[in-house]
Symmetry: C2
């Protein structure tokens, strides 16, 4: 039995663990030297396994990036979802908190990992299903808050799903890793001013054009 | 007299022309092979001049990029400024037209030049004064429209400058080259829906919180 076969057997037995180790190693490489320069061979060598074995778990570097990002993105989604369903807060307070949480999350990550944008760029170019799902899930959290605000008479929105999508798109300057990294140097209004501006669009006492 | 000296003399006599030729050549290189791979030596060789001569006009590749972008950006600014000052249109129509013009401009450029994002990324990293000026000038166009809308009773905005900055930041998903390139694959609301959403923030008959 070759070393490779043994590794395969071990991997088979501990598949979830091996998968996690590959992801953790890839994550560390992507952060350290960037997505572009990292190779599957680097990841395999660090884990003392063959590239072929890595490919048994992920069929491409793109697939590894997707899984790394899913984990990262999942955290943001859980935060927004948690705020959307938090009892005892009115809809306005929840929308403010959700936007601020996304912004703070993104800022912290971009500062901690200046190479994050490479992973995001690769995903935007190659893995738009992952991006699309992420946008859909964050927008769904906003939509729950807006629907609840409409039910409470706090907001007015003819189409809460569209309003949620507009708000998510409008805060890209504050929550998109490709723009947040540079935004400390760019003149954008504080996120609080932007949130207040967007909330005015949801105010219930406008005339309808 | 060496060839270099002669070139210097010629350059001296035709400085504006040489400057334009350097910019046109750099622009073509940046579009063709990208900002990162272009060297000042490439530009000089194409123009049959020495790199030292190029450096007499621009002290770095960064300075060349800034001048190329200034020209590109100047066109967008002129469009927005022209719309802001167009007589016979109400403020709402001008705001809609200005946002649409910026979006169309950016989309067309990103399609025509997929490597544009490299130039923008370099500028955002190294030349934030250029970016800052651009944002300030576009925002100034929006502000003129909003102030006029307030004067006409069409809009209500306690702080037109801040409202203009918020609108400009809110449309980044539609007008920022780093995001527009990929947006055909991403689920964002149509720019018309976003504009309508933002216009509701400026509607005059809200209660003040």
């Amino acid at each position: 039995m070759s070393l490779d076969d043994t590794t395969h057997l071990i991997a088979e037995e501990c598949a979830p663990d091996t998968r996690s180790r590959i992801l953790a190693t890839a994550d560390a490489y992507f952060r350290e030297i960037g997505y572009q320069k990292t190779t599957v061979a680097d990841i395999a060598r660090t884990l003392k396994m063959s590239p072929a074995n890595v490919y048994r778990f992920f069929d491409s570097k793109k697939a590894i990036n997707e899984a790394v990002l899913e984990r990262l993105i999942g955290e943001s989604e859980a935060v927004v979802s948690g705020i959307a369903d938090r009892p005892g807060l009115d809809a306005t307070a929840r929308l403010v908190a959700a936007i601020k949480a996304l912004h703070d999350d993104c800022t912290r990550r971009c500062e901690a990992c200046p190479r994050l944008h490479e992973m995001i760029e690769a995903a935007m170019a190659e893995s738009w299903e992952v991006c699309r799902h992420h946008v859909a899930r964050i927008t769904a959290g906003f939509e729950r808050i807006i629907r609840d605000g409409v039910a409470r008479g706090e907001f007015e929105a003819a189409d809460p799903a569209e309003a949620a999508a507009c708000i998510h798109a409008a805060i890209a300057r504050y929550t998109h890793p490709l723009l947040v990294g540079s935004s400390t140097l760019q003149p954008v209004p504080p996120v609080e001013a932007m949130t207040a501006f967007l909330l005015r669009s949801l105010a219930p006492d406008r005339t309808r054009a």
